[in-house]
């Protein structure tokens, strides 16, 4: 047979297989290991219980298919401002993060990372700061069209209930102010514990840990 890959099936199997393993190591495993070391230097952020549950729900309803959590910046044009490395934000992303492109440490310890690859809806990396009103989020989740006419976001009515919660669980629910155009069939509406957690998570998205006084608001 010889070592000729045209005629030796063992060589034909092993050469592409081993070359592939080497390349995978070089382009994915090794860089990921190097970056893991950098990440581990960042202290683990403290996570409240409710936003953590909300984060899971954000994954379970897969909001990441339509929403990114990243502000792109042009690293090649980065400059040092007062000893802080500053990356200019891309024009298209400026509305979402005028101040600062997302940095590696903002994602530290997140697993999975909801960076996203599509922006059917707006970027959510600082929603909590842009939209701090809890009730707005309830209205929006219940019927996006009611607060954003023409929105393509699917309504999440199944996160709400019109039957009053049982007295012993009342604390886990939150009443929603019924506004006009919401399309609720009854005159009272409650956010389920899931809706509460999800909104807590959205409100926690503030990029606050980066502000530290040096960012122009």
């Amino acid at each position: 047979m010889g070592l000729n890959i045209h005629t030796n099936h063992r060589m034909l199997f092993f050469i592409p297989a081993i070359s592939y393993l080497v390349l995978v190591y070089l382009c994915a495993v090794w860089p990921a290991m190097v970056e893991m070391e950098a990440m581990e230097a960042v202290p683990k952020p403290f996570e409240d219980e409710l936003p953590a549950i909300g984060r899971k729900l954000y994954g379970s309803y897969n909001c990441v298919t339509c929403h990114t959590q990243q502000i792109r910046g042009d690293e090649r044009k980065a400059t040092d401002v007062d000893g802080v490395r500053t990356t200019p934000v891309l024009t298209a992303d400026a509305r979402f993060g005028r101040e600062l492109a997302t940095r590696a440490e903002e994602y530290a310890w997140q697993d999975p990372v909801f960076m996203g690859t599509q922006r059917t809806g707006p970027d959510l990396s600082s929603t909590g700061r842009r939209l701090p009103a809890v009730q707005w989020h309830y209205w929006h989740l219940y019927n996006p069209q009611a607060v954003s006419p023409g929105s393509l976001m699917p309504p999440h009515r199944f996160l709400f209930t019109t039957t009053p919660p049982p007295p012993d669980e009342e604390f886990d629910y939150e009443e929603v102010l019924v506004i006009e155009g919401l399309g609720v069939k009854s005159d009272r509406l409650w956010a389920t514990p899931d809706a509460k957690a999800l909104v807590e998570y959205l409100l926690s998205l503030k990029r606050e840990h980066l502000e530290q006084g040096r960012l122009a608001k």
């Binding site: 890959i5 045209h6 005629t7 099936h9 034909l12 199997f13 592409p16 297989a17 070359s19 592939y20 393993l21 390349l23 995978v24 070089l26 382009c27 994915a28 860089p31 990921a32 290991m33 190097v34 970056e35 950098a38 990440m39 379970s60 309803y61 897969n62 298919t65 339509c66 792109r72 042009d74 690293e75 891309l90 024009t91 992303d93 400026a94 509305r95 492109a101 590696a104 994602y107 530290a108 997140q110 697993d111 999975p112 990372v113 909801f114 960076m115 690859t117 599509q118 922006r119 059917t120 707006p122 954003s148 023409g150 929105s151 393509l152 699917p154 309504p155 999440h156 009515r157 996160l159």
Partner: protein, 471 residues
């Protein structure tokens, strides 16, 4: 110009082991069923991006959960199962295996087992995601691990079977199709391991692996399998040798080197290491080499065969698929450039590219190979009128789909550059969502015609009757 004088399909099929033919057909018909299912889900999603109120009252049917049901079922239920089924036939034929017994009894059993495992994985994955167990933020591996596990085992089994079939080939040389098939199974196994071993990453490293996974799944699995199938089907159907065997070998190795390292082009302008981003952009452009080594090779083989192509019901699919491979990949190379990323990343244009590649390239090539090769295995031909309807509806549908989204994606991206409010970009791209829904509808209808044809080609009494003839 000459019309190649092939042998009638029932003569080609004579002597084929009916159990082998049945096994291959089971893979293909399963794939056909998943194609229909995922198409309906895709169409639902397309209409929801026109009117989000459609079926909005059920948590399990919500947009975010149905989207991965569409993508995962298309990728693993449809494209993977169809390609693996075809690969069994192509490997058997190109190793000159005796067709009355191309695989041993135990091997046939394993191949059927792998088929069952794949179906179980795809079904479990769809149900689990509808119930909310979504591996979110990890595109094309949204299935929970227990859905991917059976599929992973199936890929392993098939890889082993292909290796054994190649090992006992009746010719000295190993045909290029087998190169791609054997390698793809190994590559895919590694890709799945990388995709599902997430315990050691978080933060940015998680995204490094993500970029790797996304493009290696499409580049080291679907693409090599499709190219491998075409290297067998095209010369066979045209009844002439491939234009250049050396180009095929060049394509294989450059594919291996460049495709593996371009994953980070999904994360340009992010905090991912700059060296990975730059490598990804450069090698994305270098992808022109393997892509055109194959595409050029196929086109040169088809050169002067216009009459044959227009008289065949399978070759037009292969022709569209080959051209689709070349164009979608050139489009991909351009998309990876930084100044293009700045405008088109995150837009509907990407979805247009994904469908251009997965539909015009992968899906059309699969159809061409099925229409071209399955009758040679079962001795039964599809009704030609239905095949023509399938072809034209699918082509018209995907044209409307891709052109619509490409324009819509540009409009959306420009609106962001202008700094208009976000809702403005939703509003200006809304008409193109209607284009997609209309194109999608045509595609889904064409899939019904395809399924009827596939069903008509299944092994039947005819296959059995001729089974003994070649012994």
């Amino acid at each position: 110009m000459k019309i190649p004088v092939g042998i009638p399909v029932f003569v080609a099929a004579a002597g084929t082991n009916p159990n082998f033919a049945k096994m291959v057909s089971r893979w293909l018909i399963s794939a056909g069923v998943w194609l229909l299912f995922a198409s309906v889900v895709g169409l639902l999603e397309a209409f929801r991006l026109v009117d989000p109120e459609i079926l909005a009252d059920y948590a399990w049917l919500t947009f975010g959960r149905m989207r991965p049901v569409h993508t995962m079922t298309m990728l693993f239920g449809w494209a993977s199962m169809a390609l693996v089924g075809l690969a069994f036939y192509v490997v058997a034929k190109s190793t000159l295996a005796p067709m009355h017994e191309p695989m041993k009894k135990a091997e046939l059993f394993l191949a059927n087992l792998a088929m069952v495992l794949c179906n179980v994985g795809v079904a479990v994955g769809a149900v689990a995601m509808a119930m909310g167990d979504v591996n979110a933020g990890r595109e094309y591996r949204e299935w929970p691990w227990y859905a991917m596990a059976p599929v992973f085992v199936a890929v392993g089994i098939c890889g082993l079977l292909f290796y054994r079939m190649v090992a006992r080939r009746a010719v000295e040389g190993i045909y290029i199709s087998c190169w791609f098939v054997m390698a793809a199974c190994f590559w895919m196994a590694i890709v799945v391991v990388m995709g599902y071993q997430t315990f050691w990453t978080a933060g940015i490293p998680d995204r490094i692996v993500d970029g790797f996974y996304i493009h290696n799944a499409v580049g080291m699995w679907f693409t090599p399998l499709c190219v491998g199938m075409t290297y067998y089907a095209l010369p066979k159907l045209l009844n002439k040798p491939i234009y250049s065997y050396a180009l095929g070998v060049l394509g294989f190795f450059t594919h291996l080197v460049f495709y593996t390292v371009i994953g980070t082009h999904h994360y340009i302008f992010t905090p991912l290491p700059m060296i990975l981003q730059t490598t990804a952009v450069i090698c994305s452009v270098a992808m022109i080499v393997p892509v055109w080594a194959s595409t050029g090779n196929f086109l040169m083989t088809m050169k002067g065969e216009g009459l044959a192509i227009s008289h065949s019901y399978s070759l037009p699919f292969l022709f569209v698929g080959v051209v689709g491979y070349g164009l979608a990949s050139v489009q991909g190379s351009a998309e990876a450039l930084r100044f293009v990323q700045e405008v088109l990343h995150f837009t509907h244009y990407t979805v247009g590219h994904a469908h251009f590649a997965m539909y015009v390239f992968v899906t059309f090539l699969i159809w061409g190979c099925i229409y071209g090769l399955v009758p040679r295995m079962t001795g039964r031909e599809p009704p030609i009128l239905l095949v023509s309807i399938h072809f034209w509806l699918a082509l018209a549908g995907i044209a409307v789909y891709v052109i619509g989204l490409s324009v819509g994606g540009h409009v959306q991206g420009e609106s962001w550059l202008e700094g208009e409010p976000m809702m403005e970009s939703v509003r200006v791209s809304a008409p193109y969502m209607v284009w997609r829904a209309v194109g999608g509808l045509l595609m889904v209808v064409s899939h019904i015609f395809f399924f009827v044809c596939l069903w008509r080609m299944r092994p039947g009494a005819f296959t059995m009757a001729y089974a003994g003839a070649g012994k």
